[in-house]
């Protein structure tokens, strides 16, 4: 009989629980002040966005430059719903609706565009994200170019922790399933994947929709944390922010995305006053990493607990 959890999974769960308790205690003790709670929020949003983008770009190999577009759908949906219904129930409805609408947009955008490959796909997703941004800018319900003001704040550390952990676990489970392997096969060799009976269009759209779903959650949390939404926030540069995290951490490495997400949020906080310097560092990092380590810092490897383990971890049925 197999065990329900591998040792690695168990350790991960324990780590997640410990992270929750430690941060909660630090907040209660006011060591993590309100100012640093913003960093904490950024870390969690970074992780959610990067892990979901990694599913699309790192695992399925579909280069997307429009992740911020889906994020904005989640953000505005949640924002509008919680403004109308400022309760926890409204907040949760907002998150779910935001995620579902973003996933729907992912399907609608994915079906036509995912026939394209590589750089053409990148530019088409960029185009769609810009179209979403411009639509948001022209609508009344979203507050137009002026933005949506006064989104009530419901996010706190337990919520952030919950959604971040949820995203990591679900995406990780997915890529370790047969459906996830079908997506990875598309990245490796699309023609061979088709010859092995994998409906490549279906799985590309699926990965895109799942990625958009979690980006919707990320956006909803953003809305609830930062109080104020404007269309320009979710432009091309925002998509690039998350791409940088995925690339730095490694295309196809979830732990890489987590570590890089934390790292860049911290860099952000430290350099909050110096936008230009921060962006120069981002850009230089991107170029240097690509030149010297095009697969990203972690490549497609995961950070595992090798020392505690006897067998290689990729086979789950040991």
């Amino acid at each position: 009989m197999k065990k329900l959890f591998t040792r690695n999974a168990l350790i991960t769960l324990i780590l997640m629980a410990v992270s929750f308790v430690v941060v909660e205690v630090l907040i209660q003790a006011n060591i993590i002040t309100a100012y640093y709670q913003i960093t904490l929020a950024t870390i969690c949003i970074n992780i959610i966005m990067a892990v979901s983008l990694n599913l699309v770009t790192g695992f399925t190999g579909q280069f997307s430059l429009g992740h911020a577009g889906f994020m904005s759908i989640g953000a505005y949906t949640c924002g509008i719903i919680t403004v109308a219904n400022p309760t926890v129930g409204g907040f949760l409805t907002g998150i779910v609706m935001g995620a579902v609408l973003a996933a729907l947009a992912g399907i609608i955008i994915g079906i036509p565009t995912l026939r394209l490959k590589g750089d053409y796909l990148a530019i088409a997703t960029l185009g769609f994200a810009e179209i979403i941004r411009i639509i948001v800018q022209t609508l009344d319900i979203t507050g137009g170019a002026a933005g949506l003001n006064g989104v009530p704040k419901f996010t706190n550390w337990p919520w952030f922790w919950f959604f971040t952990v949820l995203t990591i676990i679900l995406v990780n489970n997915f890529i370790h399933s047969s459906h996830g392997r079908a997506c990875i096969a598309i990245r490796e060799d699309e023609i061979a994947a088709e010859a092995m009976g994998i409906n490549t269009t279906k799985y590309k759209v699926m990965a895109f929709a799942v990625g958009a779903f979690f980006a919707g959650i990320g956006g909803a949390l953003y809305a609830s944390t930062f109080f104020f939404l404007k269309p320009a926030t979710f432009g091309f540069l925002k998509s690039i922010d998350y791409l940088v995290i995925v690339v730095l951490g490694g295309m196809g490495s979830i732990t890489g995305s987590v570590v890089a997400g934390i790292f860049l949020a911290v860099v952000n906080t430290v350099l909050a006053e110096f936008t230009a310097v921060r962006m120069i560092i981002y850009a230089a990092l991107l170029v240097v990493v690509m030149i010297f380590r095009p697969q990203g810092l972690m490549g497609s490897k995961e950070i595992t607990f090798k020392l505690l383990q006897k067998k290689p971890q990729s086979n789950k049925q040991e």
């Binding site: 280069f63 036509p112 565009t113 026939r115 394209l116 590589g118 750089d119 053409y120 990148a122 530019i123 088409a124 960029l126 185009g127 769609f128 810009e130 179209i131 411009i134 639509i135 800018q137 022209t138 023609i191 091309f236 690039i240 791409l243 690339v247 936008t275 230009a276 310097v277 962006m279 120069i280 981002y282 850009a283 230089a284 990092l285 991107l286 170029v287 690509m290 030149i291 095009p294």
Partner: protein
């Protein structure tokens, strides 16, 4: 009519930028995201020249073109050349990185403030049958046409041009035939960047304002123009640029100035889906 006239002058600027995209894509299959920023730097170089040296329009144009072409070559050598054998995605990400680097290094040095160009070309305008034409628009059109004729000459009548065409068809075969591939790629970047630099100066004069992020949107739109015309095709870039310019002006002329960018991107997506090879491009497919 007025929209068409305005569209053509805007379109010729897009066409100039699109040429650089198309040439670079043709030769190394890279969407050079940094191209829009070369254009921005061209605008700043021109600005610096006319503001601080009192030289006229043409010296400014030439100096900006030379500066940009040097910058283009250096960028290629430093950032793209080490990645010749890497995946196209890796090179594309690098290009995005280079683009951000240029934008924010500029922002660091010249600040994010919007600058305005001094008047170096006549502000005069005249009217033909109810259509107002500015002298500046005529200058833009003339400069663009001259540069394009010059480019056609280089590509079709010179040895460098022949090498470029050879490398874009088959890099390995070209190399075996004794063509210096690296040198040819450098020339391509030099010429493409020079055209972007010229476009930068023209835009600075025409719109009278420049800032470090000005390259993003025109860069993207010029890329759309290149795709529309057929990427890799020089006449295609001209046709695409003009079309995008005119369409954009028509849309804003009929009250859609808020959505004009969305229309351009919609065109991109439709072209990519219906005829990814564009108006004048060729079809290719993967060998199994």
């Amino acid at each position: 009519m007025q929209q068409i006239v305005n569209g053509i002058s805007l379109g010729s600027i897009y066409a100039l930028i699109a040429l650089g995209y198309t040439m670079v894509y043709g030769i190394i299959k890279l969407i050079n995201f940094a191209h829009g920023d070369i254009y921005m730097i061209g605008a700043y170089t021109g600005f610096a020249v006319v503001t601080y040296t009192n030289l006229g329009f043409f010296p400014a144009l030439i100096i900006a073109m030379i500066a940009c072409s040097a910058l283009g070559v250096v960028t290629e050598k430093v950032a793209y050349k080490p990645l010749r054998s890497a995946s196209r995605i890796a090179v594309l990400i690098t290009a995005i990185g280079v683009s951000l680097l240029m934008e924010y290094v500029m922002m660091f040095f010249v600040t994010a403030d919007v600058r305005s160009y001094p008047d170096v070309l006549s502000n005069a305008s005249f009217e033909i049958g109810g259509v107002i034409i500015k002298m500046q628009q005529i200058y833009i059109l003339i400069t663009t046409v001259l540069l394009m004729v010059f480019l056609q000459y280089i590509v079709h009548r010179t040895k460098v041009g022949k090498a470029m065409r050879a490398v874009s068809i088959d890099r390995d075969a070209a190399e075996l035939m004794g063509i210096k591939v690296d040198q040819t790629i450098s020339y391509t970047f030099a010429i493409g960047s020079a055209l972007a630099g010229a476009a930068g100066v023209l835009v600075g004069i025409y719109y009278n304002s420049i800032n470090p992020l000005m390259g993003i949107m025109p860069g993207l739109k010029a890329f759309v123009a290149a795709v529309l015309g057929g990427i890799g095709s020089i006449p295609g870039a001209m046709i695409g640029g003009m079309s995008i310019g005119v369409i954009e002006n028509m849309v804003s002329g009929y009250g859609g100035s808020l959505i004009k960018d969305a229309v351009v991107f919609a065109i991109l997506i439709i072209v990519l889906l219906v005829k990814p090879s564009g108006i004048l491009g060729k079809n290719t497919r993967e060998k199994v």
